[in-house]
C-alpha cells in the first residue's frame, strides 16, 4: 500500500525530515517528559530512576532486550502501569493517577487486541463512539482511516476473516482514529513476515509524517528501530544507555553494550599509547607490533585499557599488504566465509586466536583471485572507522 498520499507529499516530508532535530534546540518544550521515574514490581526494579524527554512529531524508538523495561515504560504512558515514584507529563499535564480511558494516548497492541465480535468498521469506530462524536463525523473518520490503511473493501469483515497483515492495519487504523497526541506501538510488526515488515516500516513513517503525530515504538528489532525512528533510546536493566539518532547510535555508540547490541561489531582490547586532540593512538595485544589510530577525542588517559571497536563493513580484506602494514592493519587467516549474495562475511582468525568479522560487498560477478579458506589476509581500516569505548 505504499501510498499515493505520501508520494505527493514526499518533497515536503523530505524537507521536514532533514531539518527535524528538536532535541538539539534548548528552547523546545518536550511533549512527553519522564522525570526520575522508578517502577518496581515487588523486589524487581523494572524502571530505575529514569528521565527522558520526547518531542512533538518525533518518531521515538525504545530498543532493548526483553525484560529491559521498555514495555513497562510505554505502558506507564498509556496508564496501564503507575510509576512507583517520579512524574510523567504529557503536554505539560501530570499523568500520574489518570486512568487509561482519560488519557490522550492510544496504543497499538502487540497482539492487536481487535474485538473479535465486531466488524472492522466497528473496531475502528469504537474509540470515536466513546467520545460521543456524532454519527456522520464517526462515519467520515472511519472511512478516512480505512482509506489510509487500504482496507475500505474489508469494512464489514470480522477480524478472524482477515490475514495477519490486514489485522495489523486494522489495529493501526483503530489506534489512529482518535488522533491521539501520542501513538504507542508495542512491537507492532512482530507477527509479520520479513518482507511485509520492511514495507510496513516505511508506511508507518509516511503515516506518521502525514498525520503529524508523535509515535513511540517499542521494539527489540534494531533494524526496525534504525529504519523508522528519529531517535532511539537503547535500554538495559531499566536504565537508558544511550539516546541518540540512529546514525549516532551506530557510528558513535556510547558503550560496549550499545555497540554490541546494535549491529555487528569487532572489539579488541587495547591500551592508549598517545593522544592529541582528534587522534588517539593505541596498541592491542591481539596484534603485536601494530599501532592503531582512531580519529576521535577521548576522555580516557594514556595507559588506560579500553575497547577498540570497528564495524565489519568498514574493514578492507586483501591478499596483498596495504601501503603501511604497521598502522590500522591486522593479519590473519580466513577461518570461514559466509556468502550472502550481496555481501560476503569473512571470519578472520588473528595470531592470538581471536576471530573478527569483515564484510566485503561482492561488486563484480567473477573475481580472478577470490579470497578463500585458509588464505593469509590483511585486514585494514581507516582512522575514522574505529571507535574507542571506555566501558
Amino acid at each position: 500500500m505504499s501510498t499515493g498520499v505520501a508520494d505527493k507529499t514526499q518533497k515536503t516530508i523530505g524537507g521536514i525530515r532533514r531539518k527535524f532535530a528538536p532535541w538539539t534546540d534548548p528552547q523546545a518544550t518536550p511533549l512527553i517528559r519522564y522525570q526520575n521515574v522508578t517502577k518496581r514490581f515487588g523486589e524487581f526494579v523494572a524502571i530505575d530512576n529514569l528521565s527522558l524527554d520526547i518531542y512533538e512529531r518525533e518518531f521515538f524508538a525504545l530498543l532493548g532486550p526483553s525484560g529491559c523495561g521498555k514495555t513497562t515504560l510505554m505502558r506507564m504512558l498509556a496508564g496501564f502501569e503507575e510509576p512507583t515514584s517520579g512524574q510523567i507529563t504529557l503536554a505539560g499535564q501530570d499523568l500520574v493517577g489518570t486512568p487509561p480511558y482519560k488519557r490522550q494516548t492510544n496504543m497499538m497492541f502487540q497482539s492487536y487486541a481487535l474485538f473479535p465480535h465486531m466488524s472492522v468498521w466497528d473496531n475502528i469506530a469504537f474509540g470515536l463512539r466513546q467520545d460521543r462524536m456524532d454519527k456522520d463525523a464517526v462515519a467520515n473518520r472511519v472511512e478516512e482511516m480505512l482509506k489510509l490503511v487500504k482496507l475500505s473493501q474489508f469494512a464489514k469483515r470480522k477480524p478472524h476473516q482477515l490475514s495477519g497483515g490486514q489485522r495489523q492495519r486494522v489495529a493501526l487504523a483503530r489506534s489512529l482514529a482518535k488522533r491521539p497526541k501520542v501513538l504507542l506501538l508495542d512491537e507492532p510488526l512482530g507477527a509479520l513476515d520479513k518482507k511485509l515488515r520492511e514495507e510496513t516500516q516505511f508506511e508507518l513513517m509516511d503515516i506518521q509524517m502525514e498525520l503529524g503525530m508523535t509515535f513511540l515504538i517499542v521494539t527489540h528489532d534494531q533494524e526496525e528501530a534504525m529504519t523508522v525512528a528519529d531517535r532511539i533510546a537503547v535500554m538495559n536493566h531499566g536504565k537508558l544507555v544511550q539516546v541518540s539518532p540512529p546514525a549516532v547510535i551506530y557510528e558513535q555508540p556510547a558503550s560496549r553494550y550499545v555497540a554490541e547490541f546494535v549491529g555487528d561489531v569487532n572489539i579488541l582490547d587495547a591500551v592508549i599509547e598517545a593522544k592529541v586532540p582528534g587522534l588517539v593512538t593505541l596498541r592491542a595485544e591481539a596484534a603485536p607490533g601494530m599501532s592503531f589510530r582512531v580519529a576521535q577525542d577521548c576522555e580516557t588517559q594514556v595507559g588506560d585499557t579500553v575497547a577498540l571497536a570497528f564495524r565489519p563493513e568498514k574493514l578492507r580484506v586483501e591478499l596483498d599488504p596495504p601501503a603501511d602494514p604497521t598502522v590500522n592493519c591486522l593479519t590473519g587467516t580466513i577461518w570461514d566465509i559466509g556468502y550472502l549474495g550481496d555481501l560476503s562475511i569473512y571470519h578472520v582468525e588473528l595470531a592470538n586466536g581471536q576471530r573478527i568479522k569483515a564484510a566485503k560487498p561482492n561488486l563484480t560477478r567473477m573475481v580472478e583471485r577470490p579470497i578463500t579458506w585458509e588464505d593469509k589476509v590483511y585486514v585494514s581500516f581507516a582512522p575514522d572507522a574505529g571507535v574507542v569505548l571506555k566501558s
Binding site: 486512568p99 487509561p100 496504543m107 497492541f109 497482539s111 487486541a113 474485538f115 469504537f126
Partner: protein, 301 residues
Amino acid sequence: MADKAKGRWLVLAIPYLWLFALFLVPFLIVFKISLSQDAIAQPPYVPTFDLAAGWEAFKENFAELSFENYGYVLSWDNDFIEAYGSSLWIAGVSTVLLLMVGYPIAYAMARAPKSIRPTLLMLVILPFWTSFLIRVYAWIGILSPEGLLNQFLFGLGVIDQPLQILATDTAVYIGIVYSYLPFMILPLYSALEKMDETLLEAAADLGCPPFAAFWKITWPLSLPGVFAGCLLCFIPAVGEFVIPDLLGGSDTLMIGKVLWTEFAVNRSWTVSSAVAVLLLMVLVIPIVFYQNVQAREMEKR
C-alpha cells in the same frame, strides 16, 4: 484396508447402539404405554402385545391404541397445563437467578491468579461428592421454622417470628439455585477464561471506562457460555421433582411432581407416560434451539 474400514464402523456403531438401546427403546416403550388404557391388571394397562399370539392379535391390539390420554392431559379441566406453565416459570426464574449468582462467581474465578484457579474449580465441583438428595434434605434443616437460619436470625434479634420459608416457592428457588449452580458456573467460567484480557486494556485505551467495557466487550464475548449455562440449568429444572417435593409446599405445582403423583399415587401408568412424552417435547425444543446456536458458533470459527 477392509479390516480398517470395519474397525471404523464398529467404533461408530457403539454410541449409536448405546443410544438405541438406552434411549430410543425405552422412549418407544413409554410412548406405547401413553397410548394404552388403564386397567386393573399386571402391568396396569391394556393392550399388551404378545408376539406369540400372531399377526391378527397384533393388529387387533394395535387398533386399541389411542391418543385419549393426551387429550386428557391437554384438557383445560385438568391441572396439567397449569403445571407445565408453572414448571416453565419456576425453571425460568431460577435460571435468571442462577445467572445473576453464577456470573460474578465465574468472572471472579476467571480473573483469579492462574495458580489458584484449579483450586477454585475444585471447590465448585466439590458438592457433587455428597449425594444430591442428602444436600436437599440438608436445606430442610436450614430452612425449617426451627432451622438454622431462623435460629441465627433470632440470635441476631432481626426477627421475633420464625420465617416461613420451607414449603413455599421461595424454598424451591433456593433449592434449585443451590443445586444447579455448578452447571451455570462451569460453562460461564470456560467462556470467560478464554477471553484475552488485553481486549479490556484496548477498550480502556480507546476511552471506555471499565463498567461500559464490561457490557461492550466481556458480556458479548461470554454469550456462548451464558447460553450453554442457561440451557444446562433450565432443561433439567423444568422436570425437577425432588426439590419441589422436599422443599416446596402442597401448592407448589411442578410437572415432575404431578407426574410422580399420577404414577405412584393414582397408579395411572398411561397418563404419567403421556405427561412424560409431552414434557420431553417441551424440552426438545430448547435443545434443538441450543444446537442451532452451537452450530452457528462453529460456523463462525
